[in-house]
């Protein structure tokens, strides 16, 4: 079954909607919450990994769009600015999914975007601003 990682942005009036519940119950999707930042009456942000049949995924996405939730594919969001990277490796031990890893022969850093869950730990630890987030 296909999996997609998406970033959801909620306008203030939608932060009290049980969106995750509906995606599971009515659209039969497996939902894995990767990150969330929701404050009542303020804008909210949720990063989800959705797994389900293609048709169900499309229906679920349509539901979110009709509700007024902005959605964006996650893979676009964390960028590794290779030119700024010094390959110090400071980010690699803190990346929870090993999307950032060290090739031991060359001691150089690599970034697997597919594995990235946009936890932003690398943005906190990179001393050279070589990791960038774009939500």
């Amino acid at each position: 079954m296909p999996t997609t990682k998406i970033v959801l942005r909620f306008p203030p009036e939608l932060t009290d909607q049980p969106v995750t519940y509906k995606l599971i119950k009515e659209y039969d999707l497996m939902v894995n919450i990767l990150r969330g930042h929701i404050t009542p009456k303020e804008e909210g942000m949720l990063v989800l990994e959705l797994t389900g049949k293609k048709q169900q995924l499309n229906r679920g996405m349509k539901y979110l769009a009709n509700l007024g939730v902005e959605t964006q594919r996650l893979s676009k969001d964390i960028r590794w600015l290779k030119d700024r990277c010094t390959h110090c490796t400071a980010c690699t031990s803190l990346c929870p999914v090993h999307a950032l890893w060290v090739e031991r022969d060359t001691m150089m850093v690599n970034f697997d975007r597919d594995k990235c869950i946009a936890c932003e730990m690398c943005i906190t630890v990179c001393p050279y601003s070589a990791m960038e987030v774009q939500f």
Partner: protein, 405 residues
């Protein structure tokens, strides 16, 4: 036995055998140290890491009418510089931050811009904003100036680093229950990660552990240009426990370096931000070791597995200046990506870039092979383990009024 002069003659003729500190390891393994010492002329080393005791001084030229910035206040891109020098000489420190930076008011602060970043931008050829205020004198009437300025506009721009190139450094861990934000990076609670900061077998002062060839006057690769060792660095502490090969088991020697900033390159001088801690400059340094005898060669060919350092807790031991080690590990273990502390597997990461250190050693090798970089004999040696230097802490002494009122 060779002399620096003989090695330089070979370099000029294009006949010198130059190897990096990595390449020489295998060379010695195959040839044996005696034969290798006869054949190898130079070993090149490299390091690329955050070095906070760094800075640059500038002579910005005299405006018309003149202003005496000396004794006044001045900023480069909002970062304060030291003005307690002559009228238009200013000194910028790598760790300086703008007066209006929020610092750690909202913890952990970002420290997005500071002295290190100004140096990187200047070296990249960019113009920065110079603002200064002065009190005005008969000979320097002007009280305020605001202008754009680049390295090209300045009379002198000199990188001047009082302490670089640490010979060995602690491995930082955190045994507490909360994440901490240090100059050794973000350290996760309960031994979540371990950060080290050395190029190990490529590090210049590991390759000459007792400072037999690196001394005052040694010509080096500095920030992509040429520089010189001008003194021992601050906190130079040679009298520490060492291995049989002379490698210090704890942080030990340091060097002070200088060089023309105008000839350097931003790839090798990088502004650096440590969350919750501050701003820094990451400096690239490479030092050639002339192979004068077998002992110098054997030390230059040291391997990561033969260099050790101490694991230090940065939640309690370091801030409270307690010198407790949680264990000793080798750089080979650190570079494998995992060490064991207190029976727990802990992932490791470095703050110093081994990949860039390797590139520096390669560049320096090319410079020497190409005959464009000759070796120097140092004019004075750095204090070594026979110096009886004692590394002092600050003893706080209460003030006593001399003339009680």
């Amino acid at each position: 036995m060779k002399t620096v002069e003989e090695i330089n003659e070979k370099i000029k003729k294009g006949k010198a055998l130059v190897l990096t500190a990595e390449e020489v390891i295998d060379f010695v393994r195959h040839k044996g140290s005696k034969r290798a010492a006869e054949q190898v002329d130079v070993v090149t080393t490299g390091t690329f890491g955050p070095m906070c005791s760094s800075g640059a001084y500038f002579n910005v030229g005299h405006s018309k009418p003149r202003i005496k910035i000396g004794g006044g206040k001045a900023y480069l891109n909002g970062v304060p510089v030291y003005t307690g020098l002559a009228a238009v000489d200013i000194l910028l420190g790598a760790t300086a931050i703008p007066d209006d930076d929020p610092r750690n008011a909202v913890f952990p602060g970002q420290f997005a811009y500071g002295g290190g970043h100004v140096i990187e931008e200047l070296v990249a050829g960019k113009e920065v904003r110079l603002t200064a205020t002065a009190y005005g004198t008969d000979c320097y009437p002007r009280k305020r100036i605001e202008t754009r300025i680049s390295l090209e506009d300045m009379n002198e721009a000199v990188l001047f680093n009082p302490r670089n190139c640490y010979q060995n450094y602690n491995v930082a861990v955190n045994v507490s229950d909360r994440a901490i934000y240090t100059y050794m990076g973000v350290l996760q609670p309960r031994l979540g990660n371990a950060n080290y900061c050395s190029a190990g077998q490529l590090n210049p002062l590991f390759c000459d552990p007792l400072y037999r060839t690196i001394g005052i006057g040694t010509r080096i690769f500095l920030g992509g240009g040429t520089g010189y060792v001008i003194w021992n660095g601050t906190q130079h502490n040679p009298c520490v426990p060492r291995t049989d090969l002379g490698m210090p088991r704890v942080p030990a020697g340091t060097i002070a370096v200088i060089g023309d900033l105008k000839e350097m390159h931003p790839r090798w001088l990088r502004g650096t931000s440590f969350r919750g801690y501050g701003v820094n400059l990451t400096v690239g340094i490479g030092i050639p070791i002339p192979i004068l005898d077998e002992e110098i060669l054997v030390q230059a060919a040291v391997r990561d597995e033969d260099i050790v350092t101490q694991i230090v807790d940065y939640s309690q031991s370091y801030p409270q200046r307690e010198s407790e080690s949680l264990g000793e590990v080798s750089y080979a273990q650190l570079k494998s990506g995992e060490i064991t502390v207190d029976g727990k597997q802990v992932p490791t990461a470095s703050l110093s870039s081994y990949a860039m250190a390797r590139e520096i050693a390669d560049i320096l090798k090319e410079w020497i092979q190409g005959g464009q970089f000759l070796l120097t004999e140092c004019v004075q040696r750095l204090p070594s383990r026979d110096s009886a230097i004692v590394f002092k802490g600050l003893q706080e002494k209460p003030f006593r009024a001399r003339n009680p009122i």
